[in-house]
Amino acid sequence: MSKVDINKSWNYAAAPESTAHIQLKKKYDLFIGGDFVKPLSKKYFDTVNPANGEQIAKVAEANKQDVDRAVKAARKAFKSWPKLSVKERGKYIFRIARMMQERAREFAVIESLDGGKPIRESRDIDIPLAANHFFYYAGWSDKLEYAFPNRIPKPLGVAGQIIPWNFPLLMAAWKIAPALATGNTVVMKPAETTSLTALKLAELIQDSGLPKGVVNIITGAGETGAAIVRHPDVDKIAFTGSTEVGKLIEKSLAGIEKKTTLELGGKGANIIFEDAAIEQAVEGIVNAIFFNQGHVCCAGSRLFVQASVADVVIEKLKERISTLIIGDPLDKNTDIGAINSTEQLATIEKYIAIGKKEGADIYQPKSQLPKKGNWCPPTLFLNVSQSHTIVQEEIFGPVLTIQTFRTIDEVIEKANNTPFGLSAGVWTERGSKIFKLSQKLKAGVIWANTFNKFDPASPFGGYKESGIGREGGLHGLKPYLKLES
């Protein structure tokens, strides 16, 4: 053994997550009617590891006919799925939850490989939440009569679900679990840059014995999604993605009887008062905007710090972000992983350039970025105001704008002064201040002394242009039911 010099600086060595145990195919087909079938389009596209640009697998591209096949399979399954005894229906969903727990590590590794998020996050947050989401909704299957007073809940039929690339497996769980528990059948399209964990979920669903056609997972890009939205035999559309696309979807459905829920973008205000637990608030800022590289619709991307503590907070924030490790998503010590795609990186860099151009002061800690792949260091913009573009528009990256405020009324007004309304954070040790702020802030989720906390039992969704409808909790059942009197 070489001599150890304890007077040198102590740094972490590489701690790579093992990938030897995972099972990935080179090519994935469409999951329709309980089987993997070749796409009628005959087309496949590559899915790539954003940390190094290398191809991982080929994934089928569903065309209009493939979408039609999937919807037909879902419709056929819908003839029998809601007729199954509700407790047996629940048991299938419990099986999915338990199997996901059993295969958790494999899911986590593939999630990080395909999407770029740190293995620590997929292992400790994404996958456990996804499994728990199935577990939670499994339990509702035979209890729906208690959820809505004086109403008889009935399923809607076939649900078309389109999910984004930022929490691939978790978003799949958020969509599929409540839909199944309420007796619907599903045609789901994962995002084209992150299809793999959805396809592994399809394999798991096969193993669970779930009746064929109840869940159909078809891969593709915008065209495939549009085909699902337009399909006349889909009763319900659930979409999570950008506000821009969400509006397009709503517009295309005008005059057509199809229920929709939308979970769109955000520009969350994170508010630090002078009487906050400052050290924990700084940690909260980090969790709000650098969790998942800031690819979070409910990210706390606008920091509001009370003037009297602004210097202290900003100083501590700069110190804290200098200890964040940017690197290989599969290294267990990585805090900030790869940006999901070259397109998204270009978008983020565009906004950073705008920020500089509009006169904001940028701060980025010195970091060693890997040579290959898509990377963006944690970025702060100081001396910004409400009218700066970077303060108004969603960047969807590790970029935080910082404003100061003096009074409660001022910060409420500024926080609400946005077309978005998904989330907000309030940091104070004063309970009454928490209640006051949470009553006045126009956001669907308000975190007090924490941020980016999720739970299957907790309803999530936005006000205003951040979306319509809630996912999670008792309230998350409603979007998938018609309530008859």
């Binding site: 419990f94 728990n132 339990g139 299957s141 209890k143 009454s432 209640f435 006051k436």
Partner: protein, 286 residues
Amino acid sequence: MSRIDVLKTYKIFIGGKFPRTESGRYFHMKNAKGDLLANMCLSSRKDFRNAVVSARKAQENWANATALNRGQILYRIAEMLESRKSQFIQQLISTGSTKSAAKKEVALSIDRLIYYAGWSDKFQQIFSAVNPVSSSYFNFSILEPTGVVSIIASNENPLLGLISLLAPTIVGGNTCVILASATNPLVAISIAEVLNTSDVHAGVVNILTGDREELLPYFASHKDVNAIIYCGDNLKEIKEVEEITTENLKRVSIYRRKNWEEGESQSPYFIEKSQEIKTIWHPTEV
């Protein structure tokens, strides 16, 4: 020469362990034909006292476990029971059940565990309330487990009746001491073995076998027990329970039903029965 069976010793279940009754007494458990099935422990009031100590010790941590965690543990109990189905069917048959009735009782018991597992993180959502009071306060009412519950299990439906009272009591964060049925205390001890392999915290469920007449006054009077659930229709016993429990104003639930398979034999209201309601006020102006 045919193989000699190893006969099982049925002990009682206290604090996650299987001690014998401190009294050393026993009673014969016989099958329908009159053959000896086992020498069961004839539990004493001291066994009950020890069980209450265990139940009390375990209650705070059990209530502090997340609802999800309790739900997953109940689901685990179902998994364990499912894997030992045939043993339980056999035991029910040995005390007079038909094969099909036994199979049905076991299947329903497993499904009922799953039913209550699914309520763990939901009953709070349907029974709690945010109350719109006429002053600047945020006012909310939540359910909290009552604490330690003593349970006199059903004599009919020895397995399903036991599960039907055990599951809703513990899923809400209570701990309990159960007096097993007289008709088939064996399944109760076998359930104890299932609980013991299901990550249920030690002391959350304690099971005694013995004489109802002898033990009932203690189950009803112990001042460190917060509630009692009595399943049966003996009017004299019911009156006794209702009288003695006034000593510390225990919450009393009397279920006269003999059949846990029919009617509404599972619902979130069984959970709610062992819960208290706490209302909290908090100012909302700064």
